[in-house]
Every structure is written in structure tokens, then in C-alpha cells.
């Protein structure tokens, strides 16, 4: 699941990952939580931080409190600097701009972690 408010980044990530994975997208944190309510938890979530309606930190807090969602590996992809994410147990952190290879490697590791 790609949770990203920037439509260009959302589009290009969906396109880049869809040859290997089934990709769902959400344009803000609330939409992501709504999708989680109605669908099976994804193998991995790529989460932006600065988003309208519900930001990434709030999503992380909600995930960690939920019995099913707490185990979803989350890769944070953010253009913000100075964020401290240690307390939220994220699987990985990518600072924008990042390369596709770095994201793909992290996703592979996250999927292995999830299924292993």
C-alpha cells in the first residue's frame, strides 16, 4: 500500500511497483485507514509523513494500537527533515528524494520479514 498525497509520486510508485506487486494507493492517512478497515492488511506500507486530513505520524500511532495492523511493516518515505521515528517501530526510512532501487530493496526485505 502506497500512502502518499503527492499525486506524481503516488502515480510513479504505483507504476514502478505494479509489475511485481499488487499495489493499492491512498492519498492521505484517513483514506489508508479506511482501506485497511475494508481490505486485508498489506504486506508492506509505504507511508508519507506530511499529508492532509491525517498525517503519517497519526497513521503510525493508529497502526501500533491495532491488533491486526500493528505487524504491518511500514517504510516511511518523507521529505521532512529532523523526524524522530524510533518510537514508532518503522521498518525503514527513506528520505526524499530516493532512488527506486533503495525502495525496492527495502520492500523485498519487508515482505520477507512479513512472510518469514
Amino acid at each position: 500500500m502506497v500512502v502518499e498525497d503527492n499525486p506524481d509520486i503516488r502515480e510513479v510508485l504505483q507504476l514502478a511497483l505494479s509489475d511485481r506487486y499488487s499495489v493499492t494507493t491512498a492519498c492521505n492517512g484517513q483514506e489508508a485507514l479506511d482501506l485497511l478497515e475494508t481490505h486485508s492488511p498489506p504486506d508492506v506500507m509505504i507511508l508519507d509523513m506530511m499529508m492532509p486530513v491525517l498525517n503519517g505520524l497519526e497513521v503510525l500511532q493508529r497502526l501500533r494500537k491495532h491488533a491486526l495492523w500493528a505487524r504491518i511493516p511500514v517504510i516511511v518515505a518523507t521529505a521532512s527533515t529532523g523526524l524522530r521515528l524510533e518510537d514508532f517501530g518503522t521498518f525503514g526510512l527513506l528520505r526524499k528524494p530516493f532512488a527506486l532501487d533503495n525502495l525496492q530493496r527495502l520492500i523485498e526485505r519487508a515482505v520477507e520479514h512479513r512472510t518469514g
Binding site: E11, V12, L15, A79, K96, P97, F98, A99, L100
Partner: protein, 198 residues
């Protein structure tokens, strides 16, 4: 005493400041905009003058700094220019000295020093915060645009998508936005028009 004068003529001073801001070219201040910064500054200036009168020495006023930082953030958020931030404080100073002149209210040298110092501190802090927030916001936008451009570029060069489709258009759009952004930030190298560069 000047602090009594500020209290007594508070509404008139706010109205005069508002009129001066409206007379200036650029985005017009609404009543809401002006009332946000000026009343707080007048209150803090009054406190600084009162403290100075009690001790006969200039007193550093941390409230003025804190208020000015918030004011700088607010002015950026509602779309004012840096010039308007600076002139806004100048308007307060002019309103105070003009009204005092009209009403023959004397301003002592000590009071004038305190007024000037308060204005200097407020302008410095609000401008610093305005610039800090603006640079941070522009940096954020730059990183987002570069990210979209890099991902699109990698998709194109690896042949994941064709060069005539949406991803190529997305790359052009990102570069065009970066170019526009580079014209806003004087410290960034200019980016050529993607239409002519590609």
C-alpha cells in the same frame, strides 16, 4: 507616560496602523490579519515601557520575541511578503509617534529608546522566523519534486515505461515546477525550461 498613552488610545492606534497597511501596494491586510499582530505588539510594548519606567533601564522583553516569531509564521501562512512584515512594524511606530504628535503627548528619550528597541527586536525575530519557515517549505517542495523526477527518470531509462506516455509528462511537469521554484529561491541554480532542454 507612553505606556498609559498606548493603553488609552489602543483602538485608535490599531485603526491607524490598519489604514497605513491598506494604503500600501500588494496584498491588502484584512481586519483579522492586522488585529492579530498589532494588538499583541502594543500590549507587549506597553509592558516593556512600564518595566523600563520602573527600573529606568532597558529591559529585555522575551514576550516581544515570542510574539514576533508567531507573527512571522502567521504572515507567511496568510501570504504576506517579507517587506510587508517589516513595514507592518514600521506602521505601528508611525501610528504611535503621529498620534502622540497630534495630541501633544510628549515621548521621552528613554521611552523612544525602548520603543525603537522593541521594534528592532520584533522585526529581527519575525523576519528571521518568516525566512526560516519559507526556506524550510521551499526545501520540502524541492525534495518532493526531485523525488518525483528521479523516480520518473529511472522508469523511463530502464524501459519500464515508454518515453511518450504519462511518466514522461510527469517528468516534464516536475522539472517545470522545479524551474519555477528556482526562480523563487535566489540561491538555487536556474533550471532550464524542460520543454527546450529535453
Amino acid at each position: 507616560m507612553l505606556h498609559d498613552f498606548l493603553e488609552e488610545h489602543r483602538q485608535d492606534l490599531i485603526a491607524r496602523t490598519e489604514a497605513k497597511a491598506k494604503a500600501r501596494p500588494g496584498r491588502k491586510a484584512t481586519q483579522e490579519d492586522v488585529r492579530h499582530g498589532v494588538p499583541l505588539f502594543l500590549t507587549q510594548l506597553g509592558a516593556a515601557l512600564r518595566a523600563q519606567a520602573a527600573t529606568q533601564t532597558p529591559v529585555p522583553n522575551r514576550d516581544i520575541s515570542a510574539g514576533a516569531v508567531s507573527h512571522g509564521q502567521e504572515m507567511l501562512r496568510i501570504g504576506f511578503t517579507l517587506s510587508q512584515v517589516v513595514h507592518g512594524y514600521g506602521d505601528v511606530c508611525q501610528a504611535v509617534t503621529e498620534l502622540a504628535g497630534d495630541l501633544d503627548v510628549p515621548i521621552t528619550v528613554h521611552e523612544f529608546h525602548t520603543l525603537n528597541r522593541a521594534l528592532d527586536d520584533a522585526i529581527a525575530d519575525s523576519v528571521t522566523e518568516y525566512a526560516r519557515q519559507r526556506d524550510s517549505s521551499l526545501g520540502f517542495q524541492q525534495r518532493e519534486l526531485i523525488c518525483a523526477a528521479i523516480l520518473a527518470w529511472q522508469m523511463l531509462t530502464r524501459g519500464i515505461v515508454g518515453t511518450g506516455g504519462n511518466t514522461a509528462a510527469l517528468l516534464t511537469r516536475s522539472l517545470e515546477s522545479l524551474r519555477k521554484l528556482s526562480t523563487l529561491t535566489g540561491d538555487m541554480a536556474p533550471i532550464p525550461d524542460p520543454g527546450s532542454a529535453i
